[in-house]
Amino acid sequence: MSSQTEGRTLTYGEAVFEATQAEMRRDPKVFVMGQGVDDARGMFGTTLGLQKEFGAERNFDVPLAEDAMTGIGIGAALMGMRPIQVHQRMDFVLLCMNQIVNMAAKMSYMFSGAHHVPMVIRAIIGRSWGQGAQHSQAFHSYFMHIPGLRVVAPTTPHDAKGCLITAIRDNNPVIMIEHRMLHNVKGVVPTESYEIPYGKARVLSPGKDITIVGISHMALECVRAKHLLEAANIDAEVIDPVSLAPLDAETIAKSVERTGRLLVVDTGWLSCGASSEILSEVFERIGARRPFVAKRLGYLPTPCPTTKILENLYYPSPQSIAEAAYLLTRGADAPVWKAGKVDSNEVAEFRGPF
């Protein structure tokens, strides 16, 4: 964390913008490309005004051509440029998996260091208000699977700024996961420049009874769950991995070693997801010497339904997280406990269309 936190607050979206703008000022090789990055909505505000300041060469709209545009970013990166590409929905990165996995991730290795690919891909996870099956998916585990890629998923505006700066300065391809529900969330963000290191998880809130790991937007929900759990006299430690690849399994494992309990809450599906990786890494580290209990929570194993009433069930909530943590902590035979109500404002206040 940066030393200077002077209490200035920004939204997450503003923090992303600030990091981008500062890096573009610092390094003329940095540019931003993507569908709509120059339009009046400016990618939820994160790119608004960049074209005015840096010109259309360094902030430009592109055709609907995810595959080639990714390849074009890679090609520019090979020539020393530092492109930032933006996808309004992570669902669309399925169209450019080939370039990301077969090309960007492999070039340094395949050519034994003759090339490197300093490129950032910002991918936004959609949620709420009938986004439905094709505008709500999260594929961070796809990138965590691939050697040669870095994956970060900052939760706070502070970390969003620092992670993006780190990513832009990195000589490797970095996937930055942003959650649509986070863009309007506020937090303290230092004005100066700082990098958030890879592979360092952040303990958002210490506790002794159970370790709850929350990824991206779920970290916020886990903090809410922690408060709900106080009513059941359970003191949860909430950890935000921040960096998914490399992953700081060490910090999580140490926490579980103390608490003996692990709940991983992902903003994505479970099977072969980030939550199974976290569970596995913790187990491989401490399982032989420290028995613990664990559970994974995430999207239900269905596509995302559109109707609000089912959509609400689809996502982990502070209540469902707290209740799962209660069960893990007190055991299946404990008296039934119902978590209180708490609003996830960023979800409740979100209004259509997008």
Binding site: A40, P63, L64, D67, K308, L310, G352, F354
Partner: protein, 318 residues
């Protein structure tokens, strides 16, 4: 609905009127938050869906995009079930799981729409392949915006459709914009006709504001495809009056001149077609459609939300 009339203008008017008014009702209802779903309105673009679909049989197969209300209605999709779907209700055409972006009604050949641009195009070509394998007399019609033609999927799909001489009509609704991005900033070269012909697919460009000509030329294209002459491509110029998504106007964003939009609204295709009809006929059509719409909304209001356990239904087919 009463019998199909011999007057194409009357049929066109009914279809366009229905689309216009359903979407106006959506605009009216939207602030109530009853429709918790992104809506991509076709107001201003009704003529294309209405004109093309007027030449189709129930058994013909249709694929479209998230901007699919017009298509669904023009193909004869069930109006009450559409409204219930927008409400997220259990009587919706997909029991509330689809919303506005994924309307479906296989009983009239409306195969569904996708919210990922250009993804439905290859599905449509695959359906045409199946029809050919099945020696069916039906054809496939595939609607998409000009933005879809940016995508590699369009290239691959056009090529394959031509290669196999499949019974498919590609209909591009060129409304100039993909969200706020102008087609001239995305499409290099002489245009879509040249591109289509480079795949060996005969193509036509049809201007906006000539709905009866559009109707006639669409009919000829449908007939050619039905005769087994292979794929055809129509580039239909049109214009979206509202914001890319949502119920409002979008003048505030200044990505297109107010005067351009005003001229389009002024040249309203619905009015053009309406003027071709005797007053009484026009009014009777309007009255019937108003009743249908009111009934559909009442149906949607009365319907219930799905039960929790439905969330697990249909992940897999049996």
């Amino acid at each position: 609905m009463e019998e199909r009339t011999n007057n194409p203008a009357a049929r066109l008017y009914r279809s366009m009127y229905l689309i216009r008014r359903v979407e106006e009702e959506i605009i009216r209802l939207y602030p109530t938050d009853k429709i918790k779903s992104p809506v991509h309105l076709s107001i201003g673009q009704e003529a294309v869906s209405a004109a093309v679909c007027d030449h189709l049989e129930k058994t013909d197969i249709l694929f479209g995009t998230y901007r699919g209300h017009a298509l669904y209605l023009a193909k004869g999709g069930d109006v009450p079930r559409m409204m219930a779907e927008l409400y997220g209700k259990v009587d919706g055409c997909a029991r509330g799981k689809a919303g506005s972006m994924h309307l479906v009604d296989p009983s009239v050949g409306m195969m569904g729409t996708s919210a990922v641009v250009a993804t439905g195009i290859s599905n449509a070509v695959g359906a045409a392949l199946a029809l050919k394998m099945q020696k069916s007399k039906s054809i496939v019609v595939c609607f998409f915006g000009e933005g879809s033609t940016d995508e590699g999927a369009w290239h691959e799909s056009m090529n394959f459709a031509s290669l196999k001489k499949l019974p498919i009509l590609f209909v591009c609704e060129n409304n100039f914009f993909a969200i706020y991005s102008h087609v001239k900033d995305r499409l290099a070269g002489p245009g879509l006709l040249a591109r289509s012909e480079a795949y060996g697919i005969p193509a036509e460009h049809i201007e906006d504001h000539v709905p009866m000509e559009l109707h006639e030329r669409a009919g000829a294209a449908v007939a050619a495809v039905r005769r087994g002459e292979g794929p055809r491509f129509l580039e239909c110029m049109t214009y979206r009056w509202r914001d890319h998504v949502g119920p409002t106007e979008d003048r505030v964003h200044k990505y297109r001149p107010d005067a351009e939009l005003d001229a389009k609204i002024e040249g309203d295709n619905l009015k053009i077609v309406g003027k071709l009809l005797p007053d009484a006929l026009r009014k009777s059509i309007e009255a019937t459609e108003e009743k249908r719409i009111a009934d559909a909304i009442a149906f949607a209001e009365a319907s219930t939300f799905p039960e929790d356990r439905e969330i697990y239904d249909h992940v897999f087919a049996n």
